[in-house]
C-alpha cells in the first residue's frame, strides 16, 4: 500500500529498542556475543571446579597418603608438605578462573535482560561487566610479565652464583703442539 503523502507528520513515541539509543543491529551483535561468553564462562567454572577438587585431593588425600606410607622416612613428610602446597596452589589458581567466569556470566545475563527491557541500565551493566573482565585480564598479564622478569632475574643470579662457586682447581687445558707418537 502506498503511504499517504498528505498525512500529518507524526513521531513514534512507543518504546522500542531505540529507547536505550542502541541500534537493533548492536543489540543483535550483543545477543550473538552472549552465547559464546556464556559457553566459555560455564566451561571456566567447570574447569575451576575440577581444579578445586584436584587441589583438595592433592592437599589432603595425596599428602596424607604419602606421609603414612611405611618406610618412606623423612622424604615422605617433605613430599607431603609439597603436596599440601601444590594443592593450595591449585585452589588459588581456581579462583583466578572463577572471577572472569562470573564477569562473563554477568555480561550474558545483562544482555539477556537488555533484550527484553531495552533499558540503559542493563546495557551499562553488561558493558561494565565486560570492562571488569578486561581489567582483570590486563592485570593478570601485568602480573605474568612481572613474574617472568623476576624468574629471569633469579635464573640469571643463580647462573652467576653457580659459575662463581665452581672449583677453580681444574688442570689448565693445553693443546699438544706435537702429535703424540
Amino acid at each position: 500500500m502506498v503511504e499517504n503523502p498528505y498525512s500529518t507528520p507524526s513521531a513514534n513515541i512507543t518504546p522500542d529498542s531505540s529507547s536505550t539509543g542502541l541500534p537493533p543491529k548492536a543489540l543483535d551483535i550483543l545477543l550473538r556475543t552472549r552465547g559464546w561468553t556464556k559457553f566459555l564462562a560455564i566451561l571456566w567454572l567447570i574447569g575451576a571446579a575440577f581444579m578445586v577438587l584436584a587441589g583438595i585431593g592433592m592437599a589432603f588425600g595425596l599428602a596424607k597418603g604419602i606421609a603414612s606410607t611405611p618406610g618412606i622416612g623423612p622424604a615422605g613428610s617433605m613430599l607431603a608438605k609439597y603436596g599440601t602446597f601444590y594443592g593450595l596452589f591449585y585452589i588459588v589458581l581456581a579462583l583466578l578462573y572463577i572471577y572472569p567466569a562470573m564477569r562473563m556470566l554477568g555480561f550474558s545475563k545483562s544482555v539477556r535482560k537488555l533484550a527484553t527491557s531495552h533499558s540503559t541500565q542493563d546495557l551499562n551493566h553488561a558493558l561494565d561487566q565486560h570492562r571488569k573482565f578486561w581489567k582483570f585480564a590486563g592485570c593478570m598479564m601485568i602480573a605474568m610479565f612481572i613474574f617472568w622478569f623476576v624468574m629471569i632475574g633469579f635464573m640469571g643470579v643463580a647462573g652467576v652464583k653457580a659459575s662463581s662457586s665452581m672449583p677453580s682447581g681444574f688442570p689448565p687445558v693445553t693443546t699438544p703442539m706435537t702429535p703424540a707418537p
Binding site: T20, P23, W36, T37, L40
Partner: protein
C-alpha cells in the same frame, strides 16, 4: 564544571546516536585494557615467529634432513602465532572502533566495536570447542586402546 540544573537525559555525542554518558565512560575505560591485552598478544606472536625462525635456522645448519625439519618447525610456530594474532587484531580493532565511536558517537562505529568483540569471543569459543573435541577423541582412543590391548 558540570551543570547541576541540567535536565535528566541522554548524552548525545553524535548525529544519530543517543547513548548514556555512563556508557561512553565505560567504553573509554574498557578500550585501554583491550588495547593493552591486544598489544601484549601481538608481541607474544611476534616473539613466537622470531623463535621459530631461530629454531629453523638451527635445524637448517644440520644438513638437508635438518632443513626439512626446520621448515616444519617454523610452520608449527607460525600456526601457533596465528592463534595469537587473530584475537589480538580483534581486540585492537575493538579499541580503534571504540575510539572512533567516542569521538563520532555514530551507530556504525558502535556496531563496528561490538562486532569486533563478538568475533573475538566467537573465535575463543570455536577454539574451545575444537580443544574439547580433541580431548574427547583422545579419551575415546585411549579407552579403546586399553580395551583392545
Amino acid at each position: 564544571m558540570e551543570d547541576t540544573y541540567a535536565p535528566p537525559g541522554s548524552y548525545e555525542s553524535g548525529s544519530d546516536s543517543v547513548i548514556n554518558a555512563e556508557t561512553m565512560d565505560i567504553f573509554r575505560r574498557t578500550r585501554g585494557w583491550t588495547k593493552f591485552v591486544g598489544i601484549f598478544l601481538m608481541v607474544i606472536a611476534i616473539l613466537m615467529i622470531v623463535a621459530g625462525i631461530f629454531v629453523a635456522i638451527r635445524y637448517a645448519s644440520m644438513g638437508a634432513t635438518g632443513a626439512g625439519t626446520g621448515v616444519v618447525v617454523l610452520g608449527v610456530y607460525i600456526v601457533m602465532a596465528i592463534f595469537y594474532i587473530y584475537p589480538a587484531r580483534r581486540l585492537l580493532g575493538y579499541s580503534k572502533a571504540s575510539r572512533q565511536f567516542l569521538s563520532s558517537g555514530s551507530d556504525s562505529d558502535l556496531c563496528q566495536a561490538l562486532d569486533q568483540i563478538q568475533k573475538f569471543w566467537r573465535f575463543m569459543g570455536v577454539i574451545m570447542v575444537v580443544v574439547l573435541v580433541v580431548y574427547a577423541l583422545a579419551f575415546i582412543v585411549g579407552i579403546l586402546g586399553a580395551i583392545f590391548a
